[in-house]
């Protein structure tokens, strides 16, 4: 009872201590994402389950759940995450092992990435991404001296991450493995790792990834088809060609909401991985600029919040904020890049926009952490909050 009262009190505090730009970015991303998922999935729901609102309804539930989880996280002190970071990462590893156990994991399109949980299919790798951020932030905050001076300090957490990556590759989920390694490396870079050590490590990881691609037939095929999709537009380059066509058709102002042709079974996964192509076709360059701009705004605000926290001495919170910025930014970059043919096809969602339960909820949780960090930092740095006058009537 007391807990709930305190929680509500914290939520009320948020009215005073919140980041306006971040709020605008997140709200816009969520709304645009939901509208576009609806537009991109009506025909699919009609075809698959004879209910056009099958996917929009579920996505709406995902968003509600995400906001609910976010609200709970807002009430939780950052200290809690700092303390439990290692355990959470361990939990993530256990989940990654569980998903590989036959009968527990659910296989879709050749990959085992999901666990059936009370009627929902949960993509484990999404949860692991968040846990990776929390663990890495905690590690860097605790062992800053070691990270800075010794190679061991860098390699040690990477051992754990390598284990996670190995488990992810067994699913296989190459994209998520790359994302968590990028988070780890990014946070470590900001944590002050020695440049030459860091660079050697980075080069080593890139080489490793390249080798993995080279020796896996389907990954190699994706890479070759991405280099010249028009060479084999009916087979290997099919998805990419369809996405590019969506961009071309959209040109300046788009074909109009709901009018995409490419979403009608030309684009595979129009409501998930290739949602951005539908945005490009229906809303045109204007929509593309808007969405990229919103993600840029998000990254900027995450860095600003991290910087404030760092200055206030909340190292753990600061690295969480940086980690989230790297995660969201990198994943958005990869997803949009894939849609535009700049990067080989990866099964990564567009943060907070693509259809999908686990990714939506986990990313809402990440956003909630940002708000919590901002709140804690603001509370301590100013008795009279700076933002109050400016935003109180907004």
């Amino acid at each position: 009872m007391k807990l709930i009262q305190e929680g509500i009190k914290t939520l009320l505090d948020l009215r005073t201590y919140y980041d306006g730009f971040l709020a605008i970015a997140i709200t816009s991303i969520l709304i645009i994402g939901f509208v576009m998922v609806t537009s991109a999935s009506l025909h699919l729901g009609d075809k698959m389950v004879s209910n056009p609102f099958h996917y929009p309804l579920r996505q709406f539930i995902h968003i509600c759940l995400g906001l609910g989880v976010g609200a709970v996280i807002l009430t939780i002190n950052m200290e809690f995450w700092e303390k439990s970071g290692q355990w959470l990462f361990l939990l993530g590893l256990i989940l990654l092992v569980m998903v590989l156990i036959p009968g527990v994991g659910v296989k879709v399109n050749g990959s085992i990435r999901w666990i059936q949980l009370i009627g929902f299919r949960v993509q484990i790798s999404e949860i692991v991404k968040l846990f990776s951020v929390i663990y890495m932030a905690g590690y860097v905050a605790r062992h800053q001296e070691v990270v800075k001076v010794s190679a061991y300090g860098i390699v040690k957490p990477l051992m754990l991450f390598s284990l996670a990556c190995l488990l992810l590759l067994l699913e296989p989920d190459f994209g998520s493995a790359v994302v968590i390694l990028t988070i780890a490396m990014g946070v470590m870079f900001l944590g002050g790792a020695r440049l030459w050590q860091f660079l050697i490590l980075a080069v080593f990881l890139v080489l490793l990834a390249a080798l993995l691609c080279y020796f896996s037939e389907y990954r190699w095929a994706r890479i070759t088809s991405f280099i010249d999709p028009w060479a084999d537009p009916l087979d290997k380059g099919f998805q990419l060609v369809q996405a590019l066509i969506a961009f071309g058709q959209g040109e300046w102002f788009g074909v109009g909401l709901g009018s995409s042709i490419q979403k009608l079974f030309y684009l595979p996964e129009a409501h998930t991985d290739f949602l951005f192509s539908v945005i490009a076709e229906e809303l045109g360059l204007i929509g593309v600029v808007l969405v990229i701009g919103l993600f840029t705004l998000f990254i900027w605000r995450a860095f600003v919040i991290g910087e404030k926290a760092e200055k206030a001495g909340y190292l753990f919170s600061a690295f969480i904020a940086y980690g989230l910025a790297i995660w969201f930014g990198f994943q958005a970059f990869v997803n949009i890049g894939v849609n535009m043919g700049m990067l080989p096809t990866k099964g990564l969602t567009l943060p907070l926009m693509s259809y999908g339960g686990a990714s939506m909820i986990v990313m809402c949780a990440g956003v909630a952490l940002l708000f919590r960090i901002n709140m804690e930092t603001e509370k301590i740095t100013s008795s009279v909050p700076k933002g109050k006058k400016k935003w109180i009537n907004a």
Partner: protein
């Protein structure tokens, strides 16, 4: 916890790194922006064009094939829209097994067939599962919503009168193109022109929007033919019965309008049902009346007498001595059935004396007699434009000796089809005017040719009326209430190059009413094996049965001159189609 020294050192270092990372990420976003501008502004035309290639296709719109209707507008061949079910094997995946079973049941496929088709054609984009299914089945197939299974609109040809008009109309193939009969002969007229429209398709090849009509389908023209389906039905029924009861190998019948040369009925046995082509065999779908030739035998005798009358070689009251029943010409002998003694012209035809017509023929120059035959259309196609129409043969007069001229006079050494024979008789029926024959409705024949004088023609008809008298060869061909003029023929078939004494053609050609004929009809029964083989006994009754009903259908006044033994009472058992 953290010393001030460390604090400042970290501050500057981390500040730089943060700014560096931030810059890298902003640059990444800028790159995305640049690529978006490249795609959506600079490359848009190329990409749009690529999109159009994939979205927009021209599809054919099938044209409605013209109807074939009879002279009264009764439909004989109509096209009904149907659906054809096809599958794109590349789109098929993970279909629920009950859906497959449902589809197989609907399309009457054996179990497992669908999967087999998909596996066998895995590299194709288009395989018909079943063509021409009914709208009900099509709706059920659609309701199954199986990905990759599609429906197309096509037309199915339907023949309401089935086997009755099978030979005449022929049929179309599954692609709506004429294959036989009138469907083939007038395919150009009936077919129409396929239209084309430009449509937009989704990724599963379903049409989502019509963009423009490139050319609208031009429906085929309707064809009104001269056939009267009531008479056709009658003729078919009686011919079929006769062929069956005499266990003949085949039969043909042609009925012409004596004044216009229109074909009112043309039927054959054996026949086939064009609506169900499971049992198509070559011998069944030949329109024998048009395509098969035979030697006409005694049925040409009236022409010889008429020619001789017109040529002045005999006169109406002349008599011919046929004793002793045979006639020696060189080393050959022409025989009669028995010795008929001295015969007048009427009796020559009534008894069908070979000796008498041979003697008369030999009075005429070969060239003149040949000229009459030639003008009657022997050795030339009847010209109805039917596919595979026969012309028959006529021996050249230059190489004709007396015996050959004699055999020609009783119908050997010349071959013709049933329609040619019927046509030749129009020259007797319409007072000496030979009509062209047509399968199309018309009021007047502009291509008629005079062959005999009116007087001769009516004389011959008067003589031929005696053929259906009690002591004539075709008493069974008489029609109560109407006078009939006709001639029988019983022709030996050539088997292995020799005239057979066991296999015959039974023929009867007649006109009704005899004084002013409305109809001409030729009946051929090939190889009757039961119930006699004489033309009068086998073919004659068919004439009688068909004509007695046809007269009433056409509302022809009964004639009162001669044959009134059973007057109008017969009208009671009239046939109502």
């Amino acid at each position: 916890m953290i010393s001030s020294y460390q604090k400042t050192e970290r501050k500057t270092g981390s500040e730089q790194r943060r700014q560096f990372l931030c810059t890298v990420m902003f640059c990444g976003m800028l790159m995305l922006l640049g690529k978006a501008i490249f795609l959506q502004v600079l490359e848009k035309d190329f990409l749009k064009h690529q999109g159009d290639i994939r979205h927009i296709v021209d599809v054919n719109v099938s044209a409605y094939r013209g109807k074939i209707v009879d002279r009264n507008g009764e439909p004989l061949a109509i096209s009904t829209p149907v659906k054809s079910v096809w599958v794109n094997p590349k789109q098929v995946s993970d279909v629920a097994s009950q859906h497959i079973t449902g589809l197989e049941n609907l399309l009457k496929m054996p179990h497992g067939k669908f999967t087999k088709i998909i596996e066998k054609n895995a590299d194709k984009h288009f395989v018909f599962l079943k063509r021409h299914v009914s709208p009900v089945v099509a709706a059920q197939v659609k309701a199954l919503k199986i990905t990759g299974v599609h429906l197309d609109r096509e037309f199915k040809r339907f023949y309401p009168s089935g086997e009755i008009t099978g030979h005449l109309l022929g049929f179309t193939n599954i692609d709506d193109a004429g294959q036989e009969g009138l469907e083939l002969a007038f395919d150009d007229v009936l077919r129409g022109v396929q239209g084309k429209k430009r449509v937009m398709r989704d990724g599963k090849k379903n049409i989502i929007a019509d963009i423009e009509e490139i050319s609208s389908p031009v429906p085929g023209r309707d064809l009104q033919i001269s056939i009267d389906s009531r008479l056709q039905y009658l003729a078919y029924r009686e011919l079929k019965l006769a062929v069956k009861s005499h266990q003949a190998s085949s039969g043909s019948l042609v009925m012409l309008d004596a004044k216009t040369g229109e074909v009112l009925a043309v039927v054959n046995q054996p026949s086939f049902n064009p609506n169900d082509r499971g049992d198509l065999q070559g011998y069944r779908y030949r329109n024998r009346a048009m395509t098969d030739v035979f030697e006409p035998g005694s049925t040409v005798k009236p022409f010889v007498i008429a020619s001789a009358l017109d040529g002045g070689y005999v006169s109406a009251n002349d008599v011919v001595d046929t004793s002793p029943g045979f006639y020696r010409i060189g080393r050959n002998v022409v025989r009669d059935f028995r010795n008929y003694g001295v015969l007048g012209l009427t009796d020559i035809l009534k008894k069908s004396s070979n000796v008498a017509v041979s003697k008369i023929a030999n009075e005429m120059p070969a060239e003149e007699m040949w000229g009459f035959y030639n003008r009657l259309g022997m050795g030339q196609s009847a010209g109805v434009g039917f596919p595979g129409e026969a012309s028959g043969t006529l021996i050249d007069y230059q190489y004709m000796d007396d015996f050959e001229q004699a055999t020609l006079s009783f119908g050997y050494g010349v071959s013709m089809s049933v329609i040619q024979l019927a046509r030749a008789y129009t020259a007797l029926a319409d007072d000496g005017l030979l009509h062209s024959v047509t399968l199309f409705k018309r009021d007047y024949d502009e291509d008629s040719q005079r062959v005999f004088t009116p007087k001769t023609a009516s004389n011959i008809r008067a003589m031929l009326e005696h053929v259906v008298e009690k002591d004539g060869t075709a008493y069974k061909a008489r029609v109560a209430g109407y006078s009939v003029a006709g001639k029988t023929g019983t022709v030996k078939k050539i088997i292995n190059g020799r005239y057979s004494n066991e296999q015959y053609l039974s023929l009867f050609v007649g006109m009704i009413p005899a004084q002013d004929p409305r109809l001409v009809m030729a009946v051929l029964i090939d190889e009757p094996t039961v119930g006699g083989y004489y033309g009068g006994a086998v073919a004659g009754p068919v004439f009688s049965k068909v004509m007695s009903r046809s007269m009433r259908i056409l509302g022809v006044d009964p004639s009162f001159q001669r044959d009134q033994k059973k007057p109008l009472v017969l009208a009671v058992q009239g046939y109502r189609p």
